[in-house]
């Protein structure tokens, strides 16, 4: 083949490639959401409504914070979202307000009537729910892809993993293998080994007194906790204050020796939100553990 013909072939091939590449990016992206439905998204969404705090955080983490036009009442990180219009919660989303914002994508968790109503009004709804680590990674990837920021997802995830690794290193050796009770609610509802926060605790080397078989957030018989005698108790500050008053709980070794990690609401929220700040959550826990005296008693 002569050099001029080679040049022509190269030019034609690169034209075809360019055209087909361009056509590919103009084709609607099809994403499968957590309902199992395939949602077609034509172009990269520019006006996003998020009705779940962890999804709000994920959108901001992959750098698309500026594209948010409205969030739910519970979204509070980063600070810039606080100025956005508040659209109610998942159960009582303000339909008209959402529609008036003319979003081209609505991010939501599974709920009763809102999703169907939005879709009935012609809005695109992507339902994503993160319950565990694997879900968070998947959600990040899907969101980044949809927002045209695919490489960001990998960056965020590696940052999370790096923060977690650092956190694990900061956990003193005397805490490894120790047993922890993480209280979600004073009923008591606990976070089990299979829950999102349970996975983080496991990464940090702690053993959950609530095994996987009991489910992610079981409602416990208070006696169970007393008999399990955890080495560490993690809860809201307010709950920790009244724990010794519960019948039999004053006997908990962890309470008596001060092996407790208490958190104010903002810090607590950070722990239980399955979103991009998982790494910070691990750091927060590691900080607490590092500041505690060594636990007494034998390793069980």
């Amino acid at each position: 083949m002569t050099s001029s013909r080679r040049r022509w072939v190269r030019a034609i091939v690169s034209c075809v490639l360019a055209v087909s590449g361009g056509a590919a990016s103009a084709q609607p992206m099809v994403v499968r959401d957590d309902r199992g439905l395939d949602i077609a998204i034509a172009a990269s969404p520019q006006r996003i409504v998020s009705l779940l705090p962890s999804l709000t955080e994920s959108v901001c983490a992959v750098g698309a914070c500026a594209r948010l036009v409205g969030v739910d009442r519970f979204s509070n990180w980063p600070d810039s979202v606080r100025a956005l219009p508040k659209l109610g919660g998942i159960e009582d989303a303000l339909v008209e307000r959402v529609v008036a914002l003319k979003p081209d994508l609505v991010l939501a968790a599974p709920s009763a009537r809102a999703i169907e109503r939005f879709e009935g009004l012609g809005l695109k709804v992507l339902v994503l729910e993160s319950r565990n680590r694997a879900d968070v990674k998947r959600t990040l990837n899907i969101l980044a892809r949809v927002l045209g920021a695919a490489p960001q997802a990998a960056a965020v995830w590696s940052r999370i993993e790096r923060d977690e690794r650092l956190a694990v290193e900061r956990v003193p050796a005397h805490w490894r293998g120790r047993r922890v009770y993480f209280e979600v609610d004073a009923t008591p509802y606990a976070a089990g080994a299979g829950s999102f926060i349970g996975e983080t605790l496991a990464r940090l080397g702690l053993v959950n007194i609530v095994p996987n078989e009991l489910g992610p957030f079981p409602k416990l018989n208070p006696e169970f906790v007393v008999r399990a005698q955890p080495d560490l108790v993690i809860a809201h500050n307010a709950n920790l204050a009244e724990m010794p008053k519960r019948p039999g709980w004053a006997d908990l070794r962890a309470l008596r020796s001060g092996s407790i990690c208490g958190f104010e609401p903002a810090a607590y929220e950070l722990l239980i939100r399955p979103g991009p700040r998982m790494g910070e959550a691990a750091q927060s826990l590691a900080t607490c553990l590092a500041a505690l005296p060594a636990p007494g008693g034998a390793l069980r």
Binding site: G88, E91, D92, E96, V99, P110, S111, A112, E116
Partner: protein, 339 residues
Amino acid sequence: MRTPDQQRRGRLAWRLGALTIVLLAAGLAAGSDGWSMLALWDTLQRGDAALIVGQIRAPRTLGAWLAGALLGLSGAVAQGLFRNPLADPYLLGSASGASLAVVLVLAASSLTGHGIALATAGAVARLGLVGAAFAGALLGVSLTLVLARGAEQTTRLLLAGVVVGVLLAAGSDLVTSAAPDALRGKQAFMLGSTGFLSWSACAVLAAGLLVALPPAWRLARALDALTLGEDAARSLGLSLVHLRAALVVALALAIGVAVSQTGLIAFVGLVSPHLVRRFAPAPHGYTLLASAATGGTLLLAADVLARSLIAPQEVPVGVLTALLGGTYLLWLLHRRRIA
């Protein structure tokens, strides 16, 4: 020559009609930018006017009236059937029955691995929940009647209603402890709200009204006879078993349809018949229709207020109906006009 009674009935009808028209118009103007006719004019100029006003505000406004009418009708039927001015259709086990049925459907689908049923959407799931709500309401009211054995005595009836309500709620709790996903779905479903009413919801509500109202109205004279006592009504040749069954079905249908579309909204059913009695006492033929119209107007007013008071936020409509209805009942008690 119209009697004073007939004049009062006519006046009430005109007033309700006028109020309804005004509120329907107001409903079109009440939105996320507060309530003002000027804002409505601006909104209509916008490109998405058809969407905002036509697809969101209009069906919601009409749907609120329709749901209120169903609740008002149910309240009048319940109070007539059970000869008790304190009978609220929810007290008779209809709400807890609908709630339990909804939870069972949600739990069944989540336990069989379909994930959270509501999230999979689709007309079938929707129909399943609507049908479940209706069947559950029917079950609850029938159970109450059986337990109260004819409901001759006030205390027995109220006790039966409370017992059935508690039993069915406990059943619901039991199911949700085994299937926690169903709990979230149920709470979302049962939270009283007019905020999600679409045109298809309006169609369902209208259908419910068209099916429940005529038979109830036709049997109104039986309710009149019942005011003389059950034995007297039977001595007049009425078959109480059949009448009760027909009225219970109408009641359960009305409540079931309303609950399936708007969740639980307090007081409208209880208070509407009282308002009618206060302004225009009449036999049940008039009272049933007027209660429906009054309930519709009441819920419509509450819905418009809910959207307007703290726009762009909304006050839960159940709070407003409870406030409006509860305040009125307190006033009634104060004046000792409860019959």
